[in-house]
């Protein structure tokens, strides 16, 4: 049963100031679902990239099918049937979905678009993915792009499929779909390497878990011989309380009221946000939650509707005006909307409140530094220095930088769009504490989240969207996963 199909030996990878992987050795068995678990920056993605040949390891070797490779290349890796779904998706925006799916399948001769579309539809169908093959990838939402990535990997008839946080932006029903996919693959004896920060997923589908910490291999355990608690303590090196922080700080004052907002994807949406409240938004992907908040924030045009801040009607035409009125937004897509990948961590964090860190026009470097240090510690951002470029951070740590950036903005109303996407369990708890802290200070929070557990745990009230319209609202007492799903999906 446990026949080793792939083994990575003493893999070491160094970056300036960081040892991303330090002599990591792992074996993977045929037909197993093998999870990689570790804090943000532990080296999971790096290990995967070494396996796929996307980056070169400095030391170590990879054994597969009786061959030993000191260095992988993308070509060799694929020739052994390894397919990877990357954390930062790797699709070609200017090509269609079908072309992306079929890219690399053939390399000679003529393209048959009909056939490509047919193949794509055939792949999508069993998994209930409803995306037209002719759509350009750049017109898809991040969640849809993720689905396309998954479909692309499956279509290749791989022997080993690596999934780096495939569910970070999927909602419950898509995650269920993914489970089905994985189970089917497992029956075909395909090995799955699965990375996720959502602990419950590990217990649902994985057979074994390998834990990594600070670039080092810690141990590998069988999933059914362990529990959540011990996994976490192996991962972070200490015990963690995992309860959602309780609080009671909602005031009657209404800080934000949206009236009859109609935008690019929304129709006639109205809601109110109270001081000290955490208001959750739920819905399936494509329900228009992101679009709604972008319209509120002035990032997209509104067709009609009014926004009142603390009772005052404000015409929010641009994010700048929103920020001046005390609204902050943590965008959903960190790579394109959140991070300045080629700027240092300190400048990333300082960008929203840089005016406050300046006298006249001149920026006070010391204060920029101090602020960056503060957030790096508070959010436990793993980096050799605050002068590191954001692009060199691990996915979860980039997300933390985006959070820090908006938190530093010191807004009264903060919109979190998928705040904990890609963030590890430990840090996630810190963020929940931070959110509680914020509302206790009298600020208000809007939270869009596809993580049902987090949504139910953190929200004071939940509004469900369906096809751009409000389909229901639940008070804390009425919270239930089923209730939300029912409101979210079409009857």
């Amino acid at each position: 049963m446990s026949e080793t199909i792939l083994s990575m030996k003493d893999i070491t990878k160094r970056y300036p100031g960081v040892v991303a992987l330090n002599k990591v050795s792992v074996d993977f068995h045929k037909g197993e679902v093998h999870a990689l678990l570790g804090e943000n920056g532990a080296g999971k993605s790096t290990l995967i990239k070494v396996l796929s040949g996307a980056i070169e390891n400095d030391e170590g070797s990879i054994d597969i099918d009786g061959c030993t490779y000191e260095k992988m290349t993308p070509k060799i890796s694929r020739s052994h049937g390894i397919e990877v779904i990357y954390q930062e998706y790797n699709l070609i925006n200017s090509l269609t979905v079908a072309e992306n799916i079929c890219l690399g399948a053939k390399s000679k001769g003529l393209v048959d678009y009909k056939e490509m579309e047919q193949i794509t539809n055939d792949i999508f169908k069993p998994y209930n993915i409803n995306i037209h093959p002719k759509t350009l990838v750049r017109d898809l939402s991040p969640a849809h792009q993720q689905l396309v990535e998954i479909a692309k990997a499956i279509s290749k008839n791989a022997k080993i499929i690596v999934m780096d946080e495939p569910t970070a932006q999927l909602t419950v029903s898509e995650v269920e779909n993914l489970y089905d996919i994985i189970r089917t693959l497992q029956k075909k004896n395909v090995t799955i390497i699965y990375i996720s920060h959502r602990m419950e997923e590990l217990f649902t589908i994985t057979d074994r878990v390998t834990i990594m910490r600070d670039g080092q291999y810690v141990t590998t355990v069988k999933t059914d011989e362990t529990d959540r608690k011990s996994l976490i303590s192996l991962m972070v090196g200490r015990e963690l309380t995992e309860t959602y922080p309780g609080r009671d700080c909602i005031k009657d004052e209404i800080v934000l009221e949206v009236k009859n907002l109609t935008g690019y994807k929304n129709e006639d949406v109205s809601f109110k946000l109270k001081k000290g409240e955490i208001l959750g938004f739920s819905g399936l992907i494509g329900a228009g939650r992101t679009e709604l908040m972008r319209a509120v924030f002035g990032a997209d045009k509104k067709h009609s509707g009014q926004i009142f801040i603390k009772g005052k009607n404000v015409d929010i035409k641009s994010p700048k005006i929103a920020i001046m009125n005390g609204i902050g937004l943590i965008p959903e897509d960190r790579k394109w909307q959140g991070c300045f990948l080629n700027m240092t961590i300190e400048w990333n964090i300082a960008i929203t409140n840089i005016r406050k860190l300046s006298r006249r026009f001149v920026v006070n470097d010391a204060r920029v530094k101090a602020q960056a240090e503060e957030y790096v510690n508070k959010l436990n951002i793993k980096t050799p220095s605050i002068l590191q470029k954001a692009g060199n951070l691990s996915g979860g740590n980039q997300q933390k930088v985006v959070l820090a950036k908006v938190l530093a903005g010191d807004s009264d109303i903060i919109i979190f769009d998928e705040p904990t996407r890609g963030i590890d369990v430990g840090a996630r708890h810190e963020i929940y504490l931070l959110m509680s802290e914020l509302v206790k200070q009298g600020r208000s929070i809007i939270m869009i989240s596809s993580d049902m557990e987090e949504l139910l745990g953190m929200s004071d009230r939940i509004i469900v969207l369906r096809e751009g319209k409000v389909s229901g609202e639940l008070a804390r007492e009425e919270f239930s996963q089923n209730q939300i799903l029912e409101l979210a999906s079409l009857e």
Binding site: S52, A54, P74, K75, R78, V84, Y86, N90, L91, I92, N93, S94, L95, E99, L103, G104, K106, S107, K108, G109, L110, V111, N128, N130, I131, H132, T135, L136, D139, L140, S141, H144, S173, Y264, L284, I285, G286, S489, L490
Partner: protein, 324 residues
């Protein structure tokens, strides 16, 4: 549904309509504009530019730019002229030689870009200077003239009523369009330009694609050069430079993205023709050269602006997510 189709047809062909509009305008302004000879004239005059622009467009689609194309044309012009007149080689050998020089210079660009791992735009910024020097060093600034009639046929001959350069353009445009749209190699060019890292990870050899694209661009540059020299019946080192500028303008006008991964050969042809018709028409109408410059700039801005505006108008509900 019907209206949407018409709308999207218009959206996708804005430039063709602009071209038609400009032609209509000139037909009214000048009685001589709308004649077969004049239109063939415009096509012939711009033949070399279309060929060169198609080459550059491929490089742009693959995510680069070729600034050296003008000087490459100049080197090929001199080499071809020299082979023909100074060395008295037979025509087929001369053509082969000219094309080879073009391909080699193109390969050099691609090779250096791959080797030093710097952006093709920067590489060709440097090689354009080098090629210019090389061209003048070979020619010694002399013109090579009195070229053979059989050679001049390439630029001046007719097949039936159709000028040879126009035929060459059509053949090249059709082939390149087909390759770009219908072959895997063509799609890989788009992939390499759209997201090189993703393409590499999908098993596309991005470096090979880059090299191939530059070789093709060099080849097409050489064809352009031969057409140009054959038309003038004389070759000198000042022929070519400036083409890079017109070619890039035409590509941009024709919807080839600077960032790579996007654009159609069809667009490039239309782009060149808009520029060509403009300059022909304005001369027929009798505008002074400097007024022409200003008008040309304005029309460029308006066309590109309108095209972009049309394309950016949000496409509603591309993705219909039905939950089954």
């Amino acid at each position: 549904m019907e209206t949407t189709k018409v709308q999207s047809f218009i959206r996708n062909n804005v430039l063709v309509f602009i071209l038609i509009g400009i032609c209509a305008l000139f037909s009214i302004l000048s009685p001589n504009f709308l004649s077969v000879t004049n239109l063939l004239n415009v096509a012939t005059q711009n033949a070399y530019l279309i060929i060169a622009s198609i080459g550059v467009s491929l490089v742009m689609i693959s995510g680069g730019t070729d600034l050296s194309i003008g000087q490459l044309i100049s080197v090929v012009a001199i080499c071809t002229g020299a082979a023909l007149e100074w060395m008295q080689l037979p025509l087929p050998i001369v053509l082969l030689f000219g094309l080879t020089v073009g391909v080699l210079l193109g390969l050099f660009n691609g090779f250096v870009a791959n080797l030093l791992n710097i952006h093709p735009m920067i590489v060709t910024l440097a090689t354009m200077t080098m090629f210019q020097g090389i061209s003048f060093l070979i020619s010694g600034s002399k013109a090579i003239y009195d070229l053979d009639a059989s050679f001049k046929y390439i630029g001046q001959g007719y097949v039936g009523p159709i000028p040879v350069p126009v035929i060459i353009v059509i053949v090249i445009a059709v082939i390149v369009d087909f390759v770009a749209k219908k072959t895997y190699f063509g799609r890989f060019i788009y992939a390499a330009g759209g997201n090189p890292e993703a393409a590499r990870l999908a098993g596309v050899s991005v470096k090979t694609i880059k090299l191939a694209v530059f070789a093709i661009c060099g080849f097409l540059g050489a064809v352009a050069s031969i057409v140009m020299v054959a038309r003038a019946g004389s070759a000198n080192s000042t022929m070519g430079p400036g083409t890079e500028f017109n070619a890039i303008t035409a590509c941009v006008l024709g919807g080839i993205s600077f960032i790579g991964g996007e654009g159609r050969v069809k667009g490039v042809v239309v782009g060149v023709l808009i520029l060509g018709v403009l300059s022909n028409g304005m001369q027929l109408v009798g505008l002074g050269i400097y007024v022409q410059y200003v008008v040309k700039g304005l029309i460029l801005l308006l066309s590109i602006g309108y095209d972009t505006y049309q394309k950016q108008a949000k496409v509603k509900k591309v993705v219909t997510t039905k939950t089954a």
